[in-house]
Structures are given as C-alpha cells and as structure tokens.
C-alpha cells in the first residue's frame, strides 16, 4: 500500500456555518451581494461598529460569484500611494484574519513575483519597488538568478522569446483559500445576528426624494435605512435600478486548474508581458488565470482561445508544465474601471453606497474593503483610505491609473 500523499487534502470546515433565515421586512442596512466584499462588510459592520440589523442579499449561493472563481492572489505592491494605502491595509488585516475568524484560511505568505520581460518592464518594476518601499510595502527587485532561486522552475534562459529580465518580489504576498475566507466571514456575520439570505435577487431599488428606502427582491420588498452595493460584475445593473450610471464595463475573466500535482511551484508568479499568472494551491492543483475576454458579457464563461494563449505563455515560462493537464476552466464577471482602480464610497443617491470596480483584483482587498466600506456606511462618510477612490475622480481627472506600471492587476 503506497503512503498517502501529503498536502492533497484541506483542513476541515467547522461543523456549523450559517443559518438560512427568511428575510425580514426591514433592516437598518441591506448589503446587496454576498460575495467576499459583502460578507466582509457585514462582518466589520458588526465587529467594528456594532451594527447588526443587517441583511446580506445574495441572488445565488453565498460567495458563488467572483469569490468562488478567483485565483486567490494577495499582494499590496501597487504603484500609487492611494492604492498602496488600501491594499496594504488589507494585507495587514489578512495577517490576523485566521485568528480573527477562527477559521483555517490557508493564508500562505509564499511571496509573489511579478516578472519583467523588457527594458521598460524593468523600469516600471523598479519604480514600483521603490515606491512600495517608501510606502512601507515590502518589495524587492530580483535579477533573473534570484528569480530562479525563489522559483526554480521558471525558465530564465536569455533565449526565451521574452526572456525574464528580473522580477519584483513581495515576500509577504501570497494566496489564501477563497471559500474558507468567504465562509469564515459569513460564519462570523451570521453569529453576530446578521441575516445571510440566499436565492434573493435584488430586482429594484426604491429611491424617494433622492434617498434610498429599500430594495425589491425575488423574495419580496425589503425596507432599508441604508443600502450598500457589493455586486462586483453586476454593479452597473444595480446602479441602473437606482437611476445612475457607473464608468464600468463587465468582462468575463477566465481561470483554470490542473490536476493535483506534487509540489513544484513554491510561490506565485505573474507576468504581464506574456500574460499569465500561476500558483500551486494547497491540494496541489496549479491555479492559473489570464487576461479578460475583450468584450463585455455576463456569461460567466469566456472564449477558449484566451485559454490557449495562456497555455502557450505558461509553457514559455514553465516548460515543465508541458504534460500537466487542464482539469477545469471557468469564468467570472469582473467590473473594470477606466483607470483599473476601484470605486468605493458614496453613491449619487443618499444612503446608498458604492463598492465596485475591483475588476480583476479585488480578492486581495477583501478584509480591507470590508473594514473601509463598513466605516463609510456607518459614518455616511468615506473612510480616509477610500477617499481617493470616489466616483468624482472621473470628472476632475484625478485618476489612480494602475494600468501603466502595476503589472497585471490580480
């Protein structure tokens, strides 16, 4: 009898998670969207502000949107001060979250490498590393040899089509098990008395005199003192219900996993130029993602040539992956803003709050968003870390443009 494989299993979930309550007629706060952000917001409304007359309304199964679909990369090495501020806040929370939630989140600070493949990539990378250090975000610039030390299977041959010229490295970055995170937050919110209501689609938002009064749902109307949107890919659809528009486009973003493999990949590697990002999850599957599909869609699936391109890119970087197999592919719907930074804060309707536009990279922000957004809701005033991410910036032009220099935004 061969020995059991270490690692190919996960820690058990707890024996109790959450209730399945019927919705009440009214709540102080209704959160629309039971993804990671909605659940974290509920958790911190209760924990930090003592607000528990809250319902989280989820159209499907809890955390079944992007929260169930993301490649789980967590990092805070963003270029601009505003971004570093909010993502680093989130990373600090991650560092205490397992304890806070008493749940094994498999938060693994295995480091993230962002590879540079051209001279301009190198400049942009150094720029980001230097900015990170001044913002107290741990960051290093590694040369190809050092990259190889961190991740021995990366192909650093100078003959590669796009050779690796170095990488930025954030040692505190890493991954966490997405479902565990969502469920830990849900369990905590539920335990605080917050109602998590599934199969409850918000179909209308009631606004009277410029102020939100409640929502209509597939389970009937629900009155609310405050309504907080947390609907990720569907944010535009919800905003339209409240009568305003958002500078968002919803795109499919795909990801895939391989079969379970013995450990080969000790860190997280992201490459902007050849466009792939990959880590090996705890059970042993390689988890990979690529870029968004070009056109908008709400289909939760994308086109296959995106996957094929991604595989070609992956093999350039990791020739040893050749005979690994794609086990499953899937897609999520991400809401992308013109400057690749989120929108979080007040909406054009009173007592309605906005948290959207996290696009391809909002998982890492989950606890940070919950913290900041709960504050915004509780005080009807944006948290200082959220202020740069208001809707206004599109009018003034004060964008937080993370396209240019921030590598792929995951």
């Amino acid at each position: 009898m061969s020995p059991r494989t270490p690692g190919a299993q996960l820690p058990e979930h707890p024996d109790w998670l959450w209730r399945t309550p019927d919705p009440r007629r009214s709540y102080d706060v209704v959160i629309v969207g039971g993804g990671g952000h909605g659940l974290a917001t509920a958790h911190y409304l209760a924990r930090n502000h003592g607000i528990t007359d809250v319902a989280v309304l989820e159209r499907g199964w809890l955390a079944g949107g992007n929260m169930a679909r993301n490649t789980t990369i967590i990092r805070s090495n963003y270029l601009w001060d505003e971004s570093a501020g909010i993502y680093e806040h989130a990373l600090r929370l991650w560092e205490g979250l397992e304890e806070e939630l008493d749940y094994p989140l498999l938060f693994s600070q295995r480091g993230v490498l962002n590879l540079a493949h051209s001279l301009q990539d190198v400049r942009d990378s150094v720029r980001r590393v230097e900015a990170n250090r001044l913002n107290a975000v741990d960051a290093q610039w590694l040369d190809p040899r050092q990259v190889k030390e961190v991740c021995p299977i990366v192909n650093i041959s100078p003959d590669a089509r796009y050779p690796v010229m170095g990488a930025t490295y954030q040692p505190r970055a890493g991954i966490a098990k997405h479902d565990h995170v969502a469920w830990g937050l849900a369990r905590s919110a539920d335990a605080a008395g917050i109602d998590l209501i599934q199969n409850c689609e918000v179909t209308g938002i009631d606004v009277t005199g410029g102020r939100v009064t409640g929502v209509r749902t597939s389970l009937g109307p629900i009155a609310a003192g405050k309504v907080a949107l947390c609907a990720a890919g569907h944010s535009s659809v919800l905003a339209a219900m409240a009568g305003f528009e958002l500078p968002l486009q919803s795109h499919p973003l795909q990801a895939l996993v391989s079969e379970l493999l013995e450990p080969v990949h000790p860190t997280v590697v992201m490459s902007n130029a050849v466009h792939v990002y990959v880590s090996q999850a705890h059970k042993g599957e390689l988890v990979m993602g690529a870029g968004v599909d070009a056109y908008t869609a709400y289909t939760q699936r994308g086109a296959f040539h995106v996957i094929e391109r991604q595989m070609a890119a992956a093999l350039e970087l990791f020739p040893v992956f050749a005979r690994a197999h794609v086990l499953r592919t899937w897609g999520g719907i991400v809401d992308v803003t013109p400057d690749a930074s989120p929108i979080t804060g007040l909406a054009p309707v009173d007592q309605l709050y906005l948290n959207c536009g996290w696009g391809t990279g909002g998982f890492k922000a989950t606890p940070g968003v919950g913290w900041v957004y709960a504050h915004t809701i509780a005080h009807d005033d944006p948290h200082p870390l959220a202020r740069p991410f208001c809707l206004d910036r599109f009018t003034t032009g004060a964008l937080v443009d993370e396209h240019g220099a921030a590598a792929v935004a995951h």
Partner: protein
C-alpha cells in the same frame, strides 16, 4: 514475465499476435495491442492500483472508460505524464507506469514531443461513434453534407465494443464514412469543449499509443477547432454506483465495465461475482460474465419485481435476489465477501446473507453524458423515470441522440441517431434523398421493468464507508456533516466536501451526490440540480493547447530588412513590441557601457548610423488629409508646406500623450506620418476609427507603409560628408536642404527620400529606401563612412542622445498619465485650433493643476548613475513611511558628451523646482540631485546644422 491468469482463452478485440511488455509499480507484465493499461492489469490479476487521497484506502479499477475515479496512474516512461486513468491508456510496448495516491508528478526535462492544432468546418459534427452516433453520421453523410464524426476510442462502436456481439455494420459504417469524400472520422479524438456559435474543441491522441515508436515529426496530440453548422451529441451514458458500506474496495466495479473487460478485452475481472443492480442492464453483464466462465454467485436486485431479464438470469442458473441490497463488503484489500439483506421501503429487513466473491458488480443506473450539451448552454431536466438529468432545451444548433438523451435500447439508439443525423443535415440545407439504413439488431421482446432509484443503502453502522466520490474520498457521512453545517446548495456541498472536484470531475459520482443530498435535505433531486459542467470534458494537456506556439514560434519576431547585417555584426537585440531591434553593437571585449559610450561619441563627434525601419509609417491621402491630421495632432499640420516636415504629438481623448512622430507633406493632398515603433498599429487603428465612425465625410485615406520603407538614420557632424559623397545630385548645404525638409534623390544609386530630421540634436538625416535595397544602402554608407569612422548604433545610444537633448520617449518618459504640457511641450499644443482630440481634457481641474508632475532633468551628485524607476523625495532624511514622493526617474544615463551622469524625471511642480536639491533613495542611501531644465546638451540648438 508474469502470465496473464485472468486472460480469457479467446475472444476480445485484442491482437494476441502482438504481445506488449510493460511495467507497473515496478513489476513487469505483459498485455496485447488493443488492451488498455487497466485491462492488461486485470488480465494479470492486478485490481488495486493505488490508495485513496484522503483516507489512504486501497482502490482498484472501477470502470472501463474516461469516467474512472480510482485507477489514476503516473506514466514514467517513455516520458513522464501525470494522472491518467489506466482505463484510457492504450497499452504500448515499454510503458512504465505506477499507481497514484492523489498527486501526479511532472517531468523535470523538457517535453520532446510536438503538438499542433487544426481548424475544421463541417455541416454536421457528430460526437460519439456508438450506435446512435454512427447512425447519425451515416444518415447525415448520405445527404452529401460535410460530416465529422469524432470519438475518443480507437475504433467506432461505442458501448457496443463492450458487448458480446458487435454488429458488422459498426465497422462497415466507419469504413463507409472513411471512404466518403466529405466525411471525416476522427478516432482517438475527445471533444472536450462546446463553446458559443457551435465552436467545439477536440483533442486527438495521435501517436501516444505508439510509445517510443512514435514518429517525432508528427504531433503527439492535436487540438481540433471545429466550427459546425449543426451538432449531434451521441455521447452515451455513464453507469453510476450506489452508496453502501465498503463500496470502494478493489473488486467493486461497475457492471457494464466488467462486461466490457470480458467482451472487449477478453479479461475476466474476477473468478466469482455478485451483481448488485437497480435496473435491467446489469443482467447482460451477469450473463456475459457467466458465459465467459465467471461464477456469478447472485444478482442482487433492489427492485422487488425485476422483469424479464431476471427470469433469463434465473434460467441461466443464476440466483436472483429481488428486493435486496448489498449492505457491505469485506476482504483485505480486495473484496472477499459481500453481505446482502432484503430491502423494503428503504429499510433493511430480514437476515443478512454473505456471498463469497472476489468481484462485486454495481449498477445504480445510468447518467446520460450531458456535459457538452450543458457547456453549450443547454438546460438539463431531471427525469424522475430515469433517475437522471437529461438534456432539455438549448439555444445552439444541437441535437442529442441515443443514450445521451436517455434512450437506452439499441434499436431506439439507432433510430434516434439516424433521425438526428438526417434532421441535422436538413437543417444545414441538405436533403435526405436516400432511404435510411435498415436498423439492424432487432430488439428483444423481453418484458423490461423500470429501474429503481436507490441512492443509499442504510447501515450497518453509520455512513463512513458509503462512498459517493471515490477519488475525493467523500462519503455519505461527509455529505451529512455538510448539510448539518447549514449548507443547502449543491455548490456549497461540493466545496465543503470537495465532491466532484477530482480528476474525473464526478462523472460517476455527480448524480449520486445530488441524490444523496436530496435525501439528506428531504428535497427533490430536480430542485437541487447539479453542479456546473465546465470544459474540458476530460483533462487536456497544457502542451496540446499551446500547440506549436512555443519557442521561436511563441510570438512572431518582427525583423527589418537589415536584420541579417545586425546579426552578422554582433548586435545585441532588444525586444520592442514584437520587433527585435539592435540594442548596441559590442566590439571584442566591450561591455554595454563601453559600447554605448563609443557609439554616442561617434554620433556626437563624427558620424554614426542606425536602423530606424521599425518606426510606424502611415500614408494619408485625400483633399481633407490636412484637416483630418489637425484634429488628431495637438499642433497644426495643415499649414505645413510640401517638402517640409513637422514634429507632432497625439493625445487620447483624456488628454494624455498617446504617440509622437514626424509628419512630412509629400503633396498638397498627401502626408506621410511616422509613429513610435510600439504604437504603429494602434495609431493606424486610431485613425481609422475616427475616420470611419466619427468623420466619414472627411475625404482622407490611410494606408500603412511601415514595411514599404527601410529607414536609416545618419547622424553626426560629419554625416553631411557621407551623404554628399553618395548623393551627388543632392544639394546638401544647410541653405538648400534646411532642417525639417525632405528631398528625393538617389543615394548610392538607390532611389531614396532623405529627410533632415534629428532626434539627437546633431546634424542628421533619415534616408528611406525600399527595403529590398536596404542592405545595399547600409553597406554603401558603411563603406563611404569608414574613413570617418562611421559607427552603427542601437536603441540604447539613440535613447542617450535624445535624453541629453531632453526629448521624451513615449512609453518611457510617459506612462499614460502625462500631458504634453507636463512634458514641457506646451509649444506643440495649438492654441489656435478650435479642437483636437484631447483638448477638452486639458481644461479639467486635475490637468490644469500647477503641481502636476513635469519632466525635468536631474544632475546627481558625485556622478552616480541613478537607477531608472527610482523615486524622489524632499529632505536628506527619510520621514517615517508613507514617505511623500515627488516623482520618479524615467531615464538615466552616463553621458559622454556631458562628461557626467544625468537623468530625466517626472517631478511634482518640476519646472518650479529648477535649481532645487532633491534626494533619490537608492538602497540605504539618499543620493542628492539637482533639478535642472530638461535640455542639457546644446541648449541653443547650435549643432543642428552641423
């Protein structure tokens, strides 16, 4: 070599004349061509292939196909490949494999095999070559329609290959299709993805079954991209298990699989069998096994009243226990005995009976293979009669036929397939002229009884060994724990228990899982549904998907006409977009700094030349061309005189710099623009977009001529001498040929357009010729310039030269957040024009701010070469983080001309700070720098005319 104790003396579809040697878990065995690794192992008496991932329980071969949850193996030789079901590995000579307890292993060496892809189009794609698929393909092909029939097996026949008598017409229909000019039969080809607009993906295994004999020039696997007007899915059905205690022991096997081993592979999967079934189909297995000499101890039928099949079994001398269920197994590791009790209204009654047996066949019903249909966006419906999910409606042009639709009898499958094929062809515009083939294989008149739907057999103690997902080791107890935690959705249960997430993606366990959960929650299976079916249907290798887009073919390398010369002269190259551009030309022993210094010196003091052919070039013609360009560029273009050249900048509508380049006016109604190398396509697209969608009334046309012209920059105070020598007809003096003018002439006898443009501040020319003559021109320049020390230079030198002059590089000194004003180029932004793209954005609050980041030069103290990308701070001591940052360094060089290092930087209120001292954190140090205006070299512009 071990014998094959379980190989039947005759029969099967194996080539007994072709014995094959292989090793499994270190032991040598023998099998035959036509075997799978699984059948060959069974023939040798090996049931157990590994232990399970979570609980470490022994596990054996459970199925005979792609749905296998247990017998997952690691291939070691000829080349390592992780995680293949032994039931799908065709045996070949020299195969070395081992059982896997969960995680596969990747090779450490590069994969030597080739992979490729093909596109294919057809009127009708039929997936699956069982009776339904064969009938469909034949019916469609006979209309003249273009038909593709894809099946993952090496030969057509589908599940018939596992029955005792395979009608001849299976092979005949295969041959008929092979011979038809418009039909194509793809064997060993798994259709694994069904996407929008009837786009299907299939993976063909082409040479793997040849082992080390595989010809290396052929692709090992091929991905087919099939666009079908109509699709017929005839993908059959998978048998499923029942959850009872100890249902995971080696020796427990699906009934149809056992039947397949006997008939197709001539292997007896055991000596003495018990059959546990909820329907009729397992009786065929019982009878076939009995006929092959396996002792069938009993058929345990959960139905109180089994039909004619049971009578037939009884007539054959097999004991049939109606209304009974298997309650447990024992044996270590393999099944040695099977416990049975009567089952009445889901309660066990009566005494237990034990049967000694080394084989337990299970049949808990059939799940139509609806994966592809579901991927296509089709809806599934729970059919309570069948106890399974069956295809319902779909928006795409797809039909489902045969067992995949819940038709489980052979005549029914044939008729269903033929009808689906005919109608698909008709919908594709063909007429079914010839009569349908006679449906062969008369159905038996036997009285069949409906299947029972039994998900769980209770007890004996708990549900800890009632497995639903064998590969993820998920039991009924695990599911109960998950529902106990409050979970209601199958999706949550999947993620709580990991059921259905293994290599087999729950092919045999998915519906069983739903059934058990429904029972636990007291809801209908229909209400619960299934988890989502996602591509691929079966795993596909990364390499196959990458195809031939690897290595040098990964992404096109674009090169200029002079590339071979650069190579021959030792150039080091830089990737710029897809281009390979010479970066610098080191001479013996030179490092990059030395080479660049030498190249710079030549350009500033003598003469140097560079291949600038990669610049984008766009020819714009038409009476409104000037007007059009006025709208695109920030400055005025229409006033340019014929014969002259102007530098221009384009912004995006958000006011940020998008591209820059020169515009030359060739004629009253004709301009030639250059763009940066990386942006050539984007600029042309941008121009077409505005022309076509916003200003269709403008009479102007754009044509890319990037590769029509090779461009050589000839630079340096002595460039005029070189040019004059080669262009005798050209008046080269500064009066006759002023800065920003162009002339047509012959250079070295080659028709050329010579422009007096300088990106270095030196006297310089750009010579444009047809690329066919580029080498001739280049060599002539090299020859003519040799006495003056003419030096080829690359992009690095070009960057230094322009930076010394403070000329920004789009993409290096800009990052999409920089306006022309930020670059200190207010002069290129017209105040006169009513509008141009980006103008309105320059009036926004943020773009008007005085403290924006502006381009300046920095002079570092002590001649330090600052890293590009480094940040700037104010004081000589770092504050506590977050430290306010004032900007960053965009370009940084050591300048021979200046005799020092310098940098360009984007600095908050930079222009106001000229003269100020700032600091650059480098490692642990703070390097002081002085801010200056951006033009450090020849600020008066005295060198331009030589």
């Amino acid at each position: 070599m071990t014998p094959q104790p379980f190989r039947l003396p005759d029969g099967g579809r194996i080539s007994r004349g072709a014995p094959l040697a292989f090793r499994f878990d270190g032991v040598a065995y023998q099998g035959y061509r036509g075997d799978t690794l699984a059948s060959a192992l069974l023939a040798a008496g090996v049931h157990q292939t590994s232990t399970s991932v979570r609980l470490g329980r022994p596990r054996g071969i459970f199925t005979a196909g792609v749905e296998e949850p247990n017998a997952i193996v690691q291939i070691e030789a000829p080349f390592p490949e992780p995680m293949l079901p032994a039931t799908t590995v065709e045996l070949y000579d020299g195969l070395v494999a081992g059982g896997l307890p969960g995680q596969g292993r990747l090779a450490t060496e590069p994969d030597p095999a080739r992979y490729d892809a093909r596109y294919a189009h057809c009127d009708v794609l039929v997936v699956g070559a069982g009776p339904a698929g064969l009938a469909a393909a034949a019916a469609a092909a006979r209309t003249g329609a273009r038909v593709i029939l894809a099946d993952d097996q090496p030969e057509p026949g589908g599940s018939l290959l596992g029955t005792a008598e395979i009608p001849d017409w299976a092979a005949e229909t295969g041959s008929e299709l092979d011979a038809a000019s418009e039909a194509r039969v793809l064997r060993r080809t798994m259709v694994f993805g069904y996407y929008d607009d009837n786009y299907l993906l299939a993976a063909e295994r082409r040479t793997n079954h040849l082992g080390s004999q595989a010809p290396s020039r052929l692709s090992r696997e091929r991905i087919w991209h099939i666009r079908a007007r109509q699709v017929v899915l005839a993908t059959g059905a998978h048998e499923r298990s029942v959850a009872f205690a100890g249902n995971d022991r080696p020796g427990v096997m699906l009934a149809a699989a056992a039947r397949t081993y006997v008939n197709r592979y001539a292997v007896a999967p055991g000596r003495r069998a018990v059959v546990f079934t909820t329907g009729d189909s397992a009786y065929c297995a019982a009878l076939d096994l009995a006929a092959a000499g396996v002792d069938v101890a009993a058929v345990v039928d959960a139905r109180p009243e089994p039909g004619g099949a049971a009578e037939r079994a009884a007539r054959a001398g097999i004991e049939v226990l109606a209304g009974h269920a298997v309650t447990g197994t024992s044996g270590e590791p393999r099944v040695a005995s099977v416990a049975v009790r009567a089952l009445c209204a889901a309660e066990l009654t009566g005494p237990a009976r034990e049967f000694a047996a080394d084989l337990l066949l299970v049949s808990g019903g059939w799940n139509p293979v609806a994966h592809l249909f579901s991927q296509a966006g089709g809806q599934l419906r729970y059919d309570a009669g069948l106890g399974a999910f069956v295809p319902d409606g779909c928006r795409q042009a797809v039909r489902v036929a045969g067992a995949a639709r819940g038709v489980f009898d052979l005549p029914g499958c044939l008729a269903d397939g033929a009808e689906a094929g005919r109608r698909a062809a008709e919908d594709a515009g063909f007429t079914a002229a010839r009569p349908l083939p006679p449906t062969s294989a008369a159905g038996s008149a036997e009285r069949s009884a409906p299947s029972a739907h039994l998900w769980v057999v209770p007890g004996p103690d708990g549900f800890g060994t009632h497995f639903v997902d064998l590969q993820r080791d998920v039991t009924v107890a695990d599911l109960a724990r998950a529902t106990g935690a409050g979970l209601r959705s199958v999706e949550h249960l999947k993620r709580y228990t990991t059921a259905g997430t293994a290599h087999d993606q729950g092919k045999t366990s998915g519906v069983l899982t739903s059934g058990v959960i429904a029972q636990l929650l007291g809801v209908e299976v229909a209400e619960l549904g299934t988890t989502t079916f996602r591509p691929p249907y079966t795993p596909v290798s990364f390499a196959a998907l990458a195809g031939r887009n690897r290595g040098v073919l990964h992404d096109p390398v674009r090169v200029t006409a002079l590339h071979d010369w650069h190579l021959a002269h030792g150039a080091r190259f830089e990737n710029v977009g897809q281009w390979h551009r010479p970066w610098y030309y080191p001479r013996d022993g030179e490092d990059m700094a030395a080479a660049v210094a030498r190249e710079c010196r030549a350009a500033r003091e003598g003469v140097a030349f560079m291949d600038a052919s990669t610049l984008g070039k766009i020819d714009v013609q038409g009476p409104d061309a000037g007007d059009f360009l006025d709208r695109l560029y920030t400055n005025m273009i229409s006033t340019l005189r014929v014969g002259m050249i102007r530098y221009g900048v384009m912004c995006r509508a958000d006011g940020m710099v998008f591209d820059d380049g020169t515009v030359i006016r060739l004629a009253e109604d004709r301009f030639l623009l250059t763009t940066t190398t990386g942006n050539a396509a984007a600029v042309l697209d941008w121009m077409e977009e505005w022309l076509q969608t916003e200003w269709p009334d403008l009479r102007a046309h754009c044509t890319s001529v990037t590769e029509q012209w090779a461009t050589v920059a000839l630079v340096g105070p002595r460039s005029r001498e070189v040019l004059a020598g080669l262009a005798p007809q050209l008046a080269v003096d500064a009066c006759s040929f002023p800065f920003m003018a162009w002339r047509e002439t012959a250079v070295a006898g080659i028709p050329a357009r010579v422009c007096r443009i300088s990106f270095s501040g030196e006297l310089a020319y750009e010579i444009n010729v047809l690329p066919w003559y580029a080498t001739a021109l280049w060599e002539a320049l090299y020859e003519a310039g040799r006495p003056l020390g003419i030096t080829p230079y690359g992009t690095e030198t070009m960057h230094v030269l322009r930076a010394e002059k403070g000329y920004p590089i789009v993409g290096q000194d800009t990052d999409g957040t920089v306006t022309p004003q930020d670059l200190g180029m207010g002069w290129v932004v017209s105040k006169k024009k009513r509008d141009f793209i980006g103008k309105r954005s320059h009036l926004r609050a943020d773009t008007g701010r005085a403290d924006r980041k502006q381009l300046v030069a920095l002079l570092p103290q002590d001649d330090v070469l600052l890293p590009e990308g480094a940040q700037l701070v104010a004081g000589d001591r770092l504050a506590d983080p977050p430290v306010p940052m004032l900007g960053h360094i965009t370009s940084s060089y050591r300048s021979v001309a200046l005799g020092r290092t310098f940098a360009l930087a984007l600095v908050r209120s930079g222009r106001e700070r000229v003269g100020e001292r700032l600091y650059v954190p480098v490692g642990e140090e703070l390097i002081p720098v002085t801010v200056t205006g951006p033009v450090l070299y020849d600020p008066e512009g005295a060198r331009r005319d030589g």
